[in-house]
Subunit: 145 residues, 2 copies
DNA sequence: TAGCCTTTTTAGAATAATTCTAAGAATAAT
DNA sequence: ATTATTCTTAGAATTATTCTAAAAAGGCTA
């Protein structure tokens, strides 16, 4: 009979416990889904739900969940990492005007590697795409000046 | 007559001086073109050509040249920035086995945005692509185990 | 060339995000 | 209940990078 727990309970963290702190951190991320908060921003929001939580724990939880594949760590340039709960394959777009980050999905039937001339035999495990520019809202705002 | 210098001398740094230190740093980058060294690696190599150069200067030169568009700063995850003198549009591939970085060019007639479903009105100024996986050499090595 | 102004270099201090450490708390296993 | 394991926590440590302020170099004009 042994350990049928992992099968029946489908803990998204696998063998790791879904502790109170981890739940809070995850909820914060899902709530601000469009948002891509940094660890410190997650910390501030998490404290509203659990005032005793520590920054170290937020870092630990974010790392744990990243490892478990529940969230993605987004690095743009040298800025603080941001975290994203969207598990679909997508690129990140940073608007240099409003400084928000947007998810950009793949077109139907397209692979992100398509435009690239990959040498024969190269195996791609991961592909990250970061864009920078002006988002539709800001672009519109600019054009009717 | 005034200042016809920028026109006639085509200094790739524009108005900025091509100093002895900047030349050394640039030479190091071009020499190890395939290499994508970090600032500290550039520093070590630069010292061979100019033992008196300082790390601060290497950082300054790299930033200057990045601003001037002569080199590109490559950021993979949270690791130290690397620097690349290849001005052609290209992606970066990190081999998790040999830990080297390779340039990956665009296919003919392809644009890096092709596979992405960009919302109407979004203006892209810059697009960065980082890949991770196993390079052809390492993949071959693995398969004839 | 001498004097002046601007740019660049330099060593070391400061910064900021992240990771590490070690001890206590929570949870699970026996 | 006892023990073992995992998790949380505060604070110290780390690391790449940026900042600071003073000296050096380079350019320009008289
Ligand atoms: Mn995202
Ligand atoms: Mn490159
Ligand atoms: Zn915007
Ligand atoms: Zn390799």
């Amino acid at each position: 009979m042994a350990n049928n727990k992992t099968v029946s309970e489908k803990n998204p963290l696998g063998d790791l416990r879904m502790t109170k702190q981890r739940k809070v951190v995850y909820d914060v991320l899902v709530e601000g889904a469009k948002d891509h908060p940094t660890a410190s921003e997650v910390f501030v929001r998490a404290k509203e739900l659990m005032p005793s939580i520590s920054l170290a724990t937020v870092y630990n939880c974010l790392e744990t969940m990243t490892q478990a594949g529940v969230v993605t760590q987004v690095n743009m340039d040298r800025e603080a990492s941001r975290f994203c709960p969207n598990l679909q394959p997508h690129a990140h777009f940073f608007c240099s005007e409003c400084e928000e980050i947007f998810d950009v999905g793949l077109k139907e039937k397209e692979a992100p590697t398509t435009p690239w001339a990959l040498p024969d035999g190269m195996e791609i495990d991961q592909l990250l795409v970061n864009m920078r520019g002006v988002c539709p809202k800001c672009a519109a705002k600019n054009s009717n000046n």
